[in-house]
């Protein structure tokens, strides 16, 4: 990367099954999928139910609450774009509805994050179209 480039954080390459997910993120809503056949709730969005392979899936708006299932404090950024954020917390969040997702834990002292910490979703715009769901202590 040359000095002239403004370092950009990685932007998610939106795919057909995730258009709605990212559109709703931009509007401050976190979507999961629920299977109409068996009731399974899943993340990330896909064509089929991970439990019964039914394609009868519907969107379910998540409560946005969850707990930290695991986490790390990143001391050495993955690239220049993330350096200003060091130290930042990458975490696996177990959502109240069941599925686990990766995210950041923000708006708190990184050293205070613990497994089991209750968190609530919020959204961080990284471009006009894309807002990332991140989590803060509830």
């Amino acid at each position: 990367m040359s000095e002239a480039d403004t370092p950009l954080k990685a932007h998610p390459p939106v795919s057909p099954e995730s258009v709605e997910y990212w559109e709703r993120c931009a509007a401050g809503k976190l979507l999961l999928q629920r299977c109409r056949t068996c009731g399974n709730v899943q993340f990330y969005p896909r064509l089929l139910c991970t439990a019964c392979a039914s394609d009868e899936l519907e969107w379910l708006e998540a409560s946005g609450s969850g707990v930290v299932k695991s986490f790390s404090i990143i001391r050495r950024a993955v690239s220049a774009a993330y350096e200003p954020d060091v130290p930042y917390v990458v975490a696996l969040i177990e959502l109240a509805e069941g599925p686990t997702m990766m995210s950041n834990v923000v708006d708190c002292d990184a050293e205070a994050v613990r497994i089991g910490l209750p968190v609530q979703v919020r959204f961080e715009a990284i471009s006009d179209a894309i807002s990332l769901p991140v989590f803060a202590p509830a």
Binding site: S70, S72, V78, S79, V90, M102, I126, L132
Partner: protein, 389 residues
Amino acid sequence: MSNLSGKVAIVGAADTQVGKIPHMSATQLCIQAAKRAMDDAGITKDQVDGLVTCNSMAEPHMYHAEAMAEYLQIFPKYCVSAGAGGGTTFAVLYQAAAAIVHGICETVVISMADSLRTGLSREAAMVMQSSSGHPQYETPYGSTVPGYYALIAQAYMHEFGATPEHLAGVAVTCRNHACLHPGAQMREPITVQDVMDSRMIADPLRLLDCSLVSDGGSAVVLTSAERAKDLPHQPVYLLGAGEGHGHEHISQARSLTTSAAKESGARAYAMAGLGAKDMDLAQVYDCFTPVVLIELEDLGFCAKGEGGDFVAEGHAAIGGSLPMNTHGGLLSHSHPGNPGSMFALTETVAQLRHAAGERQVEGAETALVHAQGGILSSHCSVILGREAG
């Protein structure tokens, strides 16, 4: 019972120099490893009718194995460029063995090399490696590869009460073994305290909990058990192999603390008709220290949660009940990326030939070698022995 067990043997094995090798390209390292392995086996390149490689990050080719065959001017019947991350090595080993057993080809060279240390910028290497994250649901959050593995480490320590000292014990064991290997990249002894004093990279992983970044290549020659008898070295027979696949992305893992090594190991033991207790040594994929503890447990060498004590008590040291990573592993011998486990394979061949010098595990007859790729994702275990069965 499988008909693969005992039918194919490793008859040649060799490494290039490892560490910083700026004067050689990844292609040259791949070819040099292949040549040395053929020399070790006492065969010429014209006897090779199968070639397996993995792509290089530093010097990629669209169709890597084909490009290497052309470079060598060999014209194989079986030519595969494999890619399953760190698990690649052992998966291709038994697939190539199957090709031999089924008469597709007779003699296969498996050669893998890369120049992660000097062939790529630090930033390029980091970005390339962390591209293992899911591009939509993981990568945007800015984790590094150590960060992904730290999620496993944190969960493991939380669930089983493992300590930073337990993790450090793995690094110290591997370093002690590397000190006995003249070709290893890191040959200065370290202590548990050194590991715990090293810089935090991604909590709870410190610098010395993380594997090396290296240039290097390594290769083996595989042929039928029948042909192996006419070649110069003690054949090292493939007795068992198995894969297990739990997830690709760590946020989708069924469990953060039990891996698909449990399945790959069980399948390999079943094919070999052997169990964990029959292994005289093990090479266990050590990209990061906590992974070793999880794998030792999932492969049946100790109970769940007891990996840390198993290592701390010296069982995994040369002279212990199950010497592991006798060349120093990815933590202290070398880690040129996807080829990393090849060195565990060539080391196992040296051990089973009883030619490992100072590192020799006394009377080693049977060994398990295990690798995983992704983020504790795809696993492959193989069992090798001096007797065909």
